[in-house]
Symmetry: C2
């Protein structure tokens, strides 16, 4: 009993026991490619988060090892990502000045909180909380974040000072400082951005035309940022452009990440908690989406609660090794998968690659211009912006569109946390509103058959004394009053009525509120001389009704079929309908 | 076009145009009886709200006239009620000292806010907001309020000072002061309480045995509080018990309510807004419940949005005439109805009765002991406490029980607003959780028929290469991931699978999140060599799917019937099932 339990908590045990030569070489090749891609990314996303560049490298070492031990995805590549870096900057800059030791401490505390929350959610099996983030809200959030991130990087491309956390404040700040633009910086930044856009859209088709295999062409395309880094760094170094005002990365401390305890400050934790929750949930949702896409290609499974623990462990590892919040990256994971990664060991090898970089290569980044890093960020995040999704969502569902538009607007004008809160709140409210008005239809008998259909859509026979109402959704507290109001209105309009039958073939639940509404309906109809019946009640719903007093007070009966109900309550109308020609009725059906 | 619109906004126009002698005398008789009942109640509830006694009278004059003009219920008797008085005390004592002019001003401002909110909800047709208050939450709230109110009145029965807004603080405060008990007060209070309990439970049967008609006996029973007031007031006056420390009502200013503008203080409004919203919604829910019960007996209609405006007008009238928040009272409305009220004119006559009382009778209440008023409150509110509902709800539904228990506990320990917030929050969360795990069943063909049923409940034939999953509820953002996870798990377990069919006869909606999940399912199954199909998709759902890109990317087909799907995808298995004997299969059915 012990081992299965342990291997379920530590999935690495399962795959390590079968780890052989072929897996080793496949993972090693994938790791080398991912490492080359991750080096500029980790430096760039640290810059986006407002942190020193080495923090990006540190967040790409131990967290990868921790995820390899506890995660279940074979191909997910964990590390700093754009959206989480933006959220880190937004949350941490509220409590500390960028560049200060407190700012770094707060970023580390955020990773600690996020790790703790993810593990707690995994242990308590609360992964379903992520379900509250609807696709339109997540999609709107990612689009708005992409716009925010890209605009926040423009200052590095122009070489000016600018601040702000909303689109307006960023753009306003840029406009005020635009006359301070450094032309060397702008030249490097614009060239790097143009080059990277060209690589993204044109290089792969070109390589394919040159006869290079598709997989290799794809991997080469991902090496664009490395080429940009090498070329622009050499240029700055050779022409000594640092002296001409081009902002460079400068000294990055050499060595492995310091293993250190994160700051323990309960006030700080309380302030950062909402942001940490949001980072956890958004990071988890994005990660799961990538992991499931890749797992499905090999018919593998990704277990949500294990993933929570894996990502939680990665964030705790970041917090204890001077890093910041991490999650599974989309492009990076796809590269890892395409390059042939077979097991999470590829992540461990990547960590070794980044560790070697931190130990030996950081002096090479001294002359790396920040404009180049900003260019890699801009090109990466603009691919996240999907404004066409707005149109598609509008065409498909107005309420989903409302949630998406609200998320985008609030993220751009107020901030990331308020935006997600607005989107989730609106999604839930619109869902409750919609389900509070369940679809109902007055039905009649299709002549010559035992079927009952909507009187508005079919040519059917009805009775003057019996009203049959079919409900097409579950009855719960938000819809209970709607049901009551509808029935009272219908009864008030039909003075000759003697019986009401509620037809329930699609009712999966009647909660306590709906039950009380039904009791009130029975009582009120009874005082108006009308009896209340039900028909085609599902087994589990009937079992519950039997546990209540409802059936004792019911003035009418519960019929197994609607046909039986009509035959009992109005035999004459039923006889009329039975003897009618079905063919004729069919001909009249709408 | 003008007149019908006006008579829908002012329902009084309709009934006034047909007002004749018989209605007049019926309304007058009902009004006299309700006035006698309302005098002690209005004084008592003002005491409960921490307000001077005349404020209770003022809240029973103009608000009744306003409701008569704008409300739609023929029998609803509006005025001060216990639960709203408790909520007023809880909200107002946070911003002002009881007894101070600011306290009265805040209570008036609360009525103004509540009136404004009710009218806004009525005009914007937001009555459905009240649907968020599930029956268990309202029932738990009323029960807990009853307990809180009764315990808060014990100080008047004992004649001691005590404070507190939670059950613990009230009981603790009483315990500290119990040695200061005034025996005269306790004697009057205990005797009045015992008498009123006796009247409530024993008087009516006794009167019936004496041959008094049932209706008259019912009305006489409601006069118990008046008898207690007369007897104890005379006693205190004759024995001069005020000198012995019995707390009396004292001087009530004579005269009509002052028509005056409520305080206009935006900070105060902001502070009181949440409490005002709660008072509005709770008052509306309770009022509607009484109004609908009474209207149904005469097959009359009560229009929710008109009721909101009627109650809103009543609260505005209270705010402009020195009163406090009002709503429809349960016992009072039943008495009004039983006494024969035909139109809202009965409310106008009641208002005249209370106005005459305020003009001429207030000196008679000088010696009225507060203990008697406390006794009438205790006996009235203990009838609201329904602890058996806890047991009934527990038996019927655990999640409804959880919402109810949370409401009761939080109201008793923290306060009324936090309690309702906890109950509503928990109801919504539990509903989302439940619907995030929709019922799904793997189905197979019932041999010899074209029907498909749950393989766990019926003896059916299945195919090795085709998996059919029936979903029994709508698919939306909270359930989208559950569907994905389930399908991936099932596919991962069945390596020989070629087709997945999603059978949707009970799916009323596929929102944008569920649509993206379906797209992801199609793509991921496709990369695993499995095609995805749908069957029995409802018309409106299909219409929406046609507006999206989904059908372009669908690897399989949408079948009109599940039988057609199976016959197309696995003709062999279908042939086997078609030729099997249905009788034999029926015998094996579980």
């Amino acid at each position: 009993m012990r081992l299965p339990a342990l291997s379920s908590a530590v999935p690495a045990i399962t795959w390590l026991s079968r780890y052989r030569g072929p897996e080793f070489s496949a993972d090693l090749v994938a790791a080398i490619i991912v490492t080359i891609m991750l080096i500029p990314q980790s430096l760039a996303y640290a810059l986006l988060a407002g942190l020193p560049p080495q923090v990006g490298l540190y967040a790409s070492i131990l967290p990868l090892v921790a995820y390899a031990v506890f995660g279940t995805s074979r191909a997910l590549a964990v590390g700093p990502v754009a959206v989480v870096s933006l959220m880190t900057a937004a949350a941490v800059s509220k409590v500390a000045e960028p560049g200060s030791p407190e700012y770094l401490g707060a970023a580390i505390a955020l990773a600690l909180l996020s790790g703790g929350m993810l593990i707690a959610m995994g242990v308590a099996r609360l992964g379903f909380l992520a379900n509250l983030l609807s696709h339109p809200v997540v999609s709107g959030f990612i689009t708005a974040s992409g716009i925010l991130i890209a605009s926040s990087q423009l200052k590095h491309i122009l070489g000016v000072e600018a601040h702000g956390h909303s689109l307006f404040s960023i753009v306003g700040s840029l406009a005020r400082h635009i006359d301070e633009t450094n032309l060397w910086t702008l030249g490097i930044g614009a060239a790097a951005t143009a080059f990277l856009f060209w690589v993204r859209s044109r290089l792969k088709p070109l390589l394919l035309r040159l006869g290079i295999p598709a997989q290799l062409a794809g991997v080469l395309t991902k090496a664009g940022p490395v080429a940009a880094v090498i070329v622009t760094t050499s240029l700055v170094s050779l022409l000594n452009l640092g002296q001409s005002g081009v902002d460079i990365v400068g000294t990055i401390p050499q060595g492995l990440p310091p293993v250190s305890a994160p700051p323990m400050d309960l006030d700080l934790f309380a302030t950062l908690a909402p942001a940490a929750l949001l980072i956890s949930v958004i990071g988890f949702v994005e990660s799961m989406s990538v992991a499931q896409t890749l797992a499905a290609k090999k018919r593998q499974r990704v277990e949500a609660n294990n993933e929570l623990i894996g990502l939680g462990a990665a964030n705790l590892a970041a917090a204890f090794s001077g890093g910041y919040a991490v999650t599974g990256g989309f492009a990076r994971s796809v590269v890892n998968f395409d390059a042939g990664a077979e097991t999470p060991m590829a992540g461990v090898f990547t960590a070794v690659g980044i560790a070697l970089t931190a130990l030996f290569l950081t002096p090479l980044f001294f002359y790396l211009p920040k404009a180049t890093l900003a260019a890699t960020i801009i090109v990466a995040v603009l691919s996240l912006v999907d404004l066409k999704a707005l149109k598609r969502t509008f065409d498909y569902s107005k309420s989903d569109f409302a949630a998406m538009a609200a998320t985008i607007l609030v993220v751009l004008t107020v901030g990331v946390e308020a935006g997600v809160a607005a989107g989730v709140g609106l999604s839930v409210a619109l869902y409750l509103w919609r389900t509070s008005r369940p679809h109902m239809a007055v039905v009649g008998q299709v002549p010559g058959t035992e079927h009952f259909r909507n009187i508005l859509r079919h040519e059917v026979t009805t009775s003057d004394t019996v009203l049959t109402l079919r409900v097409d959704e579950s009855l719960y507290f938000a819809s209970a009053r709607f049901l009551e109001d509808n029935i009272y209105d219908m009864v008030a309009e039909r003075p000759e009525l003697k019986h009401v039958v509620l037809m329930c073939p699609a009712v999966n639940l009647i909660d306590a509120s709906a039950l009380e509404s039904l009791e009130a309906i029975v009582e009120r109809l009874s005082s108006a001389g009308v009896t209340f019946h039900m028909s085609e009640v599902k087994g589990p719903v009937m079992d519950r009704l039997k546990r209540s007093r409802f059936l004792d007070g019911l003035t009418g009966q519960v019929f197994l079929s609607q046909y039986e109900a009509m035959r009992t309550l109005d035999p004459e109308a039923t006889a009329r309908a039975d003897s009618a020609s079905p063919a004729r009725a069919q001909a009249h059906a709408v």
